[in-house]
């Protein structure tokens, strides 16, 4: 009986002691009345979901083998409490945990909640998982969920829990809630025998059941379901007249939830950002397997990563991802015996290039962690000399040349823009439509008019220069077409530009139109006029400047000369 759930929770979640205590305080004893609703609010990956889940499962059973529900309750009852805990595992759950992404209609929310309330809480392994992995990554959550649904299905077969109940509207749900809260089970009877002085106060009924908790994760999605759902949930306690507490978990502020007519306001609990020591403590648990002897090196590395990235990356999951990606690279020279463990500076220099690159790819997750580790492994096993210096491009080249070839993995596997190829004329069609989308029509004469062949080059250049100059004057404004995005243009104008920028003659007009159609189907051009309108079609160019630049380069067309007010 050494550890109470509170202590266990505190250990499991560094830096969240205050929040855990607050939640536990609000929960109080199993049958105490709670606030009608709580809103837990904070940026992503601050342990909101994990903390709530673990706290509920620790206190209300359904998981941790930890002791009693009421840590602060009468110590002489501990043995019976433990007995109680065992029983509790077979009893209907005291809480329902729903993800509003999963349950996207009121009906799904109601039915899932009822199902969870009427069946025993998910088995032990899930609870312990919540403890061990404090912060499930985004991918991890879905895994968990899948596991949960699988286990739920399996369970349904094995222990044949109560059936799935239909519940279509709020009215029925409120009715169900009353029914659920009023179900007396053996646990309540145990309580009754135990506590001869159960709270009887004021006008509250003398028989008061244990509090039920309805937790709604990603509650911001609730707003899309039904307009009256949030006010109802906020005052579910009042509507049902039972001891039920609704907990919303969200990343956005409460103001966004308010409805027009107002309603009951929840108590807001804010989860603040982790401090450095907290972050490092959490990251310290991710020590890869088989690296136990390098613990101090790992911690040093974590420290380093935190210092380098913390300003620009507050997302703990992202930092974890980075640590997982970069640590094998960091430790490789040590394993190969090139650098000694204590040579911090050398290691530092070795990893620096990767940091620069990782910074550029922050959050992008162009490749998955497994793919990454596969790649680093293959590079490590293969010959290093051949691959080294296979550049990544950009300013990092200087550093990279010294680094082994593993760095390639950080760059994109295949650059779609470079590989994507189009027929020759189609490229020009695309370039022409880009020009038509971004250049003002009034300047078309200047850029594309075919004046007499002799002076054409000269005049064109001067005109371009003039346009450039004009462009610089308006640089201060943020309403350049480049920034505003593509403008729709009539197909005829684009074709005129197309014939102008193409030096040779194109005979087959029909083919050009098929090419336009295929570009539209590729979504490189976007048709803005409705499909049933056949003449005076208008399109928009949907392609980025970078891609057009590579296209233009491949056709040796100097696009910059023809663009107005671009930088």
């Amino acid at each position: 009986m050494a550890t109470s759930p509170r202590q266990l929770l505190h250990e499991a979640f560094p830096g969240r002691a205050k929040q855990i205590d607050q939640i536990l305080g609000f929960m109080g004893k199993p049958w105490a009345s709670t606030p009608p609703s709580l809103l837990i609010n904070g940026n992503s990956s601050l342990g909101k979901t994990a903390v709530v889940k673990a706290t509920l499962s620790a206190v209300l059973g359904g998981g941790s083998s930890s002791s009693s529900s009421s840590s602060d309750s009468i110590s002489s009852q501990i043995r019976s409490e433990q007995h109680l805990q065992d029983r509790r595992r077979r009893l209907p759950s005291r809480y329902a945990f729903l993800d509003c992404v999963e349950c996207h209609t009121p009906r799904l929310i109601f039915e899932h909640a009822i199902y969870q309330f009427r069946n025993p809480p998910p088995s032990q392994d899930k609870g312990s998982k919540a403890f061990s992995s404090t912060h499930t990554t985004t991918t991890g959550t879905s895994d968990n969920k899948a596991a949960a649904t699988v286990s739920r299905k399996r369970k349904r077969v094995a222990t044949s829990p109560l059936d799935w109940n239909k519940c279509e509207n709020v009215n029925e749900f409120v009715e169900w809630c009353r029914k659920i809260c009023d179900t007396k089970d053996e646990l309540d009877e145990v309580h009754e025998t135990h506590d001869n002085h159960r709270p009887v106060s004021g006008s509250i009924s003398k028989h008061q059941n244990e509090t039920r908790y309805l937790v709604l994760d990603r509650a911001e999605r609730l707003r899309d379901t039904a307009p009256t759902l949030i006010p109802v949930l906020m005052r579910l306690q009042e509507l049902t007249g039972r001891n039920i507490c609704v907990i919303l978990i969200t990343t956005i502020v409460w103001e966004k939830f308010r409805s027009k007519t107002g309603g009951y306001e929840p108590i807001v609990l804010n989860f603040p950002q982790y401090t450095k020591s907290e972050t490092v403590a959490i990251l310290g648990r991710d020590l890869p397997e088989g690296e136990e002897e390098n613990m101090d090196l790992y911690m040093r590395f974590v420290d380093l990563v935190y210092d380098v990235f913390q300003r620009n990356c507050k997302d703990l999951n992202e930092i974890r991802h980075l640590v997982a990606l970069l640590f094998p690279l960091y430790i490789k020279p040590v394993k190969e015996g090139k650098i000694q463990k204590h040579e911090g500076l050398k290691l530092h220099r070795h990893i620096q290039a990767y940091f620069v690159e990782a910074m550029d790819k922050l959050y992008l997750r162009e490749i998955s962690s497994t793919e990454w580790s596969d790649r680093t492994l293959s590079v490590a096993s293969g010959s290093l000399s051949g691959v080294s210096g296979s550049t990544i491009g950009g300013g990092a080249g200087g550093h990279v040349s010294g680094a082994p070839g593993g760095d390639r993995a950080l760059t994109t596997a295949l650059d779609v823009q470079n590989v994507f190829d189009l027929p020759y004329y189609t490229k020009f069609i695309l370039i022409a439509s880009f020009l038509a989308s971004y250049n003002p029509p009034r300047l078309d004469m200047r850029y594309f008019a075919k004046v007499s062949s002799t002076g054409s080059k000269m005049t064109k250049r001067s005109k371009v220069a003039a346009a450039k100059k004009h462009g610089h004057d308006s640089m201060g404004s943020k309403l350049r077409q480049q920034l505003l995005g593509p403008k729709p243009f009539p197909i005829e104008r684009m074709l005129a530009i197309f014939y102008s920028i193409l030096d040779e003659e194109v005979e087959e007009n029909v083919n050009v139109h098929t090419q336009i159609a295929s570009l539209v189907s590729l979504r490189m051009l976007q048709r803005v006029t409705p499909m049933d309108k056949l003449d005076s079609i208008k399109c928009k160019c949907n392609v980025s400047y970078e891609m057009i630049k590579t296209l233009a380069k491949s056709t040796r067309f100097e696009i910059d000369k023809y663009l107005y007010d671009f930088s």
Binding site: Q22, G25, F26, G28, K29, A32, S33, P35, N41, N43, N171, E175, R178, H197, V200, S201, G202, S203, I204, S205, T228, V232, R235, L239, G241, N243, T251, I252, V253, W254, T261, G262, G263, Y264, E265, I267, V268, N270, P272, Q273, Y306, D307, V308, N312, C313, K314, H348, V356, M359, D360, L362, Y363, L364, K478, L483, L484, G485, Q526, N542, S544
Partner: protein, 479 residues
């Protein structure tokens, strides 16, 4: 009874009052309305007179509480043991034994979202009440209006009165044809069955929502509740909520109670209440309460403030302390948006500052490209000035300093793709919202509007944990 038990009893009682599960000890400033509503209901019960009325008032001014209190008193007067008006379950067993003098039907506009559902609920509640004439079982009710109407119209004055409570009355008025309201008011007016229809709403114009035929059948009685107008009233309500009563601690004058237990309980209550009184005299505490009063006069705002401190009551600290309220007062007061923004990365912050500059130049809706351009301009300028290196090194990067300062990692121009991710994160946090509804075309060009005030952004920059001076200076610059 140990102190621990007493504390837990006190905690339960107070939090039940805070959660509005139990009724307040006394009505403050609502005596007049209470008397009228009570009288109206009593006349329905005693003399079989049909009535209808509306209780109007802003949220949190005690409309529902008033009705609940009245019902509770009526129940007491007309003789059955009544715990909680929602708690029909309890009454079920003794329904056959105790003759009920009246029935209550609770409807809530939020829950019964259409007339059909409302009708079903009425049937359910009436049959639950065990009214013999109403039928033998639930299933014998067809959920149609006519059957209820014939039932209601068949009645005489001698029948059991029914009190209909329509919470969120305005939502019922939005049902198609308002047939439920029409029929209820019609029955009330034609005096066939003694019923009282009591609508509760926070919409002051609720009456205007009624159709003409419905309106003409309504008695046009309305009672208004207002938030406590006087600071002293407000304080009284707050104090009443926190003060313990003998019932809270189960102090009975029974012989059942053992002497010592009784004495400790009374002593605890006295001490607790004494502390509450001193608490209300505390300067800092009154300032917190006064602020709430000045801002919204909402009792619930005070209740929200109390939940935390009450939840913290334990054996070690059995009394409420003023310092707890300072903290929880601050916690409920902070601007959550700023709080949320404190945890954003430097890149997101930079984008917000760029947005602020755009907005100051009267570019109200903007897209990612514009913001990125503005951000790039700033970064270019920072490089040109050469302040980058100095600012990075002067700020000190701790142990990782060498990397950061040599490469300027701490303040670097991010690639568009990374910046776009950060931008999307801001959209996800709903700090930015799309200016137009349709979402065709590349997302970089989608026009957005910012949901923050320029002052909020500057505030965040000041409060942000590690914002380099150069960025802060950029944020402070105008235009």
């Amino acid at each position: 009874m140990s102190v621990e038990d007493l504390v837990s009893l006190a905690k339960t009682a107070i939090s039940a009052r805070l959660a509005e599960r139990s009724l307040p000890v006394a009505l403050v400033g609502l005596e007049e309305q209470y008397k009228k509503v009570l009288g109206l209901m009593r006349r329905t019960i005693e003399t079989g007179e049909s009535n209808s009325c509306l209780i109007l008032g802003p949220r949190g001014t005690g409309k529902t509480m008033l009705v609940r209190q009245a019902l509770k008193d009526l129940e007491r007067q007309f003789g059955i043991s009544y715990q909680d008006e929602y708690d029909e379950e309890e009454d079920d067993m003794d329904v056959d034994v105790v003759r009920k003098d009246f029935m209550v039907v609770h409807l809530n506009g939020l829950v019964q979202t259409d007339d059909r559902m409302a009708l079903k609920e009425i049937m359910r509640q009436l049959s639950r009440e065990g009214e013999s004439e109403l039928g033998e079982s639930n299933t014998s009710f067809s959920d149609s209006l006519p059957s209820l109407l014939t039932f209601l119209k068949a009645g005489t004055k001698a029948q059991y009165p029914i009190i209909f409570i329509l919470d969120e009355f305005d939502l019922f008025a939005q049902h198609t044809k308002q047939s439920l309201l029409y029929n209820l008011f019609d029955v009330a007016q034609s005096a066939e069955w003694p019923i009282a229809v009591i609508g509760v709403t926070c919409r002051m114009d609720a009456l205007e929502l009624l159709e003409k035929r419905v309106k003409s059948r309504f008695s046009h009685r309305h009672y208004y509740t207002f938030p406590p107008g006087d600071y002293h009233d407000y304080i009284d309500i707050c104090k009443n909520t926190l003060l313990l009563t003998p019932a809270d601690l189960e102090i009975q004058t029974d012989v059942m109670m053992v002497g010592t237990d009784h004495r400790t309980a009374v002593a605890f209550m006295k001490e607790f209440n004494e502390r509450i009184k001193t608490l209300f005299e505390d300067g800092g505490f009154s300032k917190v309460v006064q602020r709430i009063f000045d801002l919204m006069k909402d009792v619930r705002a005070f209740y929200r403030l109390c939940f935390g401190p009450v939840a913290e009551l334990s054996k070690e600290s059995p009394y409420l302390r003023a310092s707890q309220f300072y903290e929880s007062g601050l916690q409920q007061r902070v601007d959550n948006k700023t709080e949320l923004l404190k945890g954003t990365s430097l890149l997101e912050l930079s984008l917000l500052i760029a947005i602020k500059h755009l907005v100051e130049r009267e570019v109200i809706s903007f897209n990612f490209e514009m913001v990125y351009d503005e951000y790039k301009d700033f970064m270019d300028m920072a490089v040109v000035r050469g302040t980058m290196a100095s600012s990075a090194s002067s700020l000190g990067m701790g142990s990782g300093g060498s990397i950061a300062s040599s490469d300027g990692v701490s303040l670097r121009l991010y690639k568009k793709a990374v910046a776009l991710k950060a931008f999307e994160h801001l959209v996800e946090a709903e700090l930015l919202r799309p200016a137009d509804s349709y979402s065709k075309g590349p997302k970089e060009y989608r026009m957005m509007r910012v949901m923050l005030d320029a002052s909020q952004i500057s505030d965040v920059v000041l409060k942000h944990r590690d914002c380099p001076t150069i960025v802060a200076r950029w944020a402070a610059r105008r235009g």
